[in-house]
């Protein structure tokens, strides 16, 4: 029971790191980015190349994965995404699905379609036994890293100047522009940072989620659930949503393995019917 809770927590934390970038881009630009998973996959494959092939230590591989993915994200944002913000939701969906298809085929072409594994240092394998509860060391690391990141994100958002600019832009873009906030730049940085986080999540999660070229398609729905259920006005909403989703998914797969993800989808639809703007959305009159 507690093991399920623990695994679910690790899983949920991971989902949060993967999806929080998406929630900000959606809240800020009202932009539906289905290609978010592609950045996560980029981070995962980046770690595979850096750690497995080039022999860089795992601890260094993670920040590198973050940087590389953030750079890719920033580049895409400046060159491609900027043209699509003003278009309709339908265009955004088409555009990002197109990117997903391209990334899936491109990774398949360069890296092969088999599942990849990141070599994890031996110190992180195995598990602790605390009060009869088996806790995987690697999962503990995930919880620690993701927990720290969450706290850091919350601090950045609430304490720094950039954070207040970002919050202002999310709340009301036009007024924020009027106050002299360069919303485009704020968004560009946030997008790159969010992609970097997704990359880091992909790198950390390669062990748990599995890494193969269909990753963006497989997990796209999970990210979207986190964002739609959690709402986009804060990061607390997506955080709670991803923890719930993580625990629910692990528990569901453990207790009713045959139903698979059915439970999750049902919960999502019910929540969305109950509160179409997400569980934790503030009701902002726009």
């Amino acid at each position: 029971m507690l093991t399920i809770l623990f695994d679910g927590l690790a899983y949920g934390m991971l989902l949060f790191v993967l999806a929080c970038g998406l929630s900000v881009t959606l809240g800020l630009m009202n932009f539906i980015n289905l290609a978010h998973g592609s950045f996560a996959m980029a981070g995962g494959y980046c770690t595979v190349i850096i750690v497995n092939r080039m022999g860089v230590p795992f601890a260094l591989g993670l920040p590198l994965a973050f940087l590389v993915t953030a750079a890719i994200g920033g580049l895409f944002e400046r060159t491609l995404y900027v043209h699509v913000y003003a278009k309709s939701h339908l265009d955004q969906v088409l555009f990002t699905i197109g990117l997903v298809f391209m990334s899936v085929a491109a990774v398949d072409y360069t890296m092969g379609s088999s599942q990849q594994f990141v070599q994890i240092p031996e110190a992180l394998q195995g598990q602790f036994d605390v009060f009869g509860v088996g806790m995987g060391k690697y999962r503990l690391l995930i919880i620690a890293v993701c927990g720290l990141l969450t706290v850091a994100l919350q601090l950045i958002l609430s304490k720094t100047r950039f954070g207040s600019r970002l919050r202002a832009a999310v709340d009301d873009q036009r007024v924020a522009r009027g106050l002299g906030i360069n919303v485009g730049a704020v968004f560009g940085i946030t997008f790159a940072f969010g992609s970097g986080l997704a990359g880091l999540g992909g790198a950390l999660g390669a062990e748990i989620l599995g890494l193969d070229p269909t990753f963006p398609l497989k997990y796209m729905i999970y990210f979207l659930i986190v964002v739609t259920v959690g709402g986009t006005s804060s990061i607390t909403g997506p955080f709670v949503a991803s923890i719930l989703l993580g625990i629910g998914d692990v528990a569901g797969k453990y207790y009713v393995p045959k139903l698979g993800a059915f439970v999750i989808y049902t919960i999502m639809i019910v929540v969305l019917l109950w509160r179409p703007q997400g569980l934790f959305a503030r009701n902002i009159a726009r």
Partner: protein
């Protein structure tokens, strides 16, 4: 007989003129049926194209006419596909045409039930709910693999001859004629719907739901109705696929299918009925060509097409197609008006 008030008469006259079949449309369908004899070796891929066209037609009804973005149209396609496969397998309904209609009704029933989920929320919520419904069905089909055959697909389906006369042969000749006729019948129904006052009210609520409600259009019920109808069409397409291939697998419910469908409609253009048909033809041959060039990675090029279309601007693609259509119609009508006067018409140097 009641004398019509002149304004109503004018409106109804205008609507009738709009709904008239143009020469170009007649040409399109004559050519479509001519393919039965023109390309006998290509009937298998043409069958797939016809099914895809019908499926795209169903999405166009809700996306192009009612403005609902859906990533879950595959739910209806897949449900009806499995339904028709199962009733054929267990011999419940042997006659394919009746089975086809039944499958459409089943899919429409699901559409009616789920339409209430789609009425609420923003574009993103709709996207998630439609996607969620089709994923749920996918999970169910996977879960009850003793009924659906799971990942191996539904096997042992034998389809009885159409109308008790025409067998489904190996080369798909009868299957193609059957699919084409079904497509044509569905198209005529859809055309009737779109040009009816009901269709016009759909356009109005796509343009502005609030104003449509203000002039007395029951927005909610119109959306429910069109969603249900579109689901039925998607179901007929799904059942057709099962009947012509005598097989049904989990991929009828996959996300890829819904996403590809969006692409088909975007290539052809949304908001006019031929968009889905033209898009299906272009898409199928594009896919065939790309798959023969790079068997494994054709998805990359499909993705590239999508990205390019959006970046260049859908309006421009639509505009291009409309311009071509306009030119063809003008050419066609000119040809027709000249025909009776042909003996006198001397070449006037143009």
């Amino acid at each position: 007989m009641i004398a019509m008030d002149p304004l109503a008469a004018e409106v109804s006259d205008h609507l009738k003129r709009r709904a008239r079949w143009s020469p170009l449309e007649v040409c399109f369908w004559v050519f479509a049926f001519a393919t039965i004899w023109l390309f006998p070796g290509k009937h298998l891929i043409l069958t797939e194209t016809a099914i895809l066209a019908l499926f795209a037609l169903s999405l166009d009804l809700i996306l192009g006419y009612a403005g609902i973005i859906s990533l879950g149209q595959a739910a209806f396609f897949g449900l009806a596909g499995y339904f028709s496969g199962l009733i054929a397998k267990y011999g419940l309904v042997d006659e394919p045409v009746i089975a086809l209609i039944l499958s459409g009704v089943v899919a429409a029933a699901l559409g009616f039930v789920t339409s209430f989920l789609v009425l609420r929320g923003s574009d993103l919520t709709r996207l998630m709910v439609t996607l969620g419904v089709s994923l749920m069905l996918g999970e169910l089909a996977n879960r009850y693999s003793d009924i659906t055959g799971g990942a191996d697909g539904l096997q042992g389906v034998t389809i009885a001859p159409i109308l008790g006369v025409f067998n489904f042969d190996l080369y798909g000749h009868h299957g193609y004629v059957y699919s084409l006729v079904v497509l044509f019948v569905c198209f005529v129904i859809a055309r009737r719907i779109v040009y009816s006052p009901f269709g016009l009210s759909l356009r109005s609520l796509k343009g502005n739901a609030l104003r449509a409600a203000a002039i007395g259009v029951p927005v909610k019920w119109r959306l429910v109705a069109i969603y249900t109808i579109a689901a039925g069409f998607a179901g007929i397409a799904g059942a057709l696929l099962t009947q012509t291939t005598a097989f049904c697998s989990l991929d009828v419910l996959s996300l890829d299918r819904s996403a590809d469908l969006l692409l088909v409609l975007i290539i052809g253009g949304t908001g006019y009925l031929y968009g889905g048909l033209i898009g299906a033809v272009i898409y199928k041959f594009l896919q065939d060509w790309l798959a023969s060039l790079t068997p494994q990675y054709w998805q990359f090029w499909i993705g590239l097409v999508l990205v390019t279309i959006v970046l260049v601007g859908r309006e421009r693609f639509d505009g291009g197609i409309r311009a071509v259509r306009g030119a063809l119609t003008r050419f066609g009508t000119r040809l027709l008006t000249r025909l009776p006067a042909l003996p006198r018409a001397a070449p006037d140097g143009r």
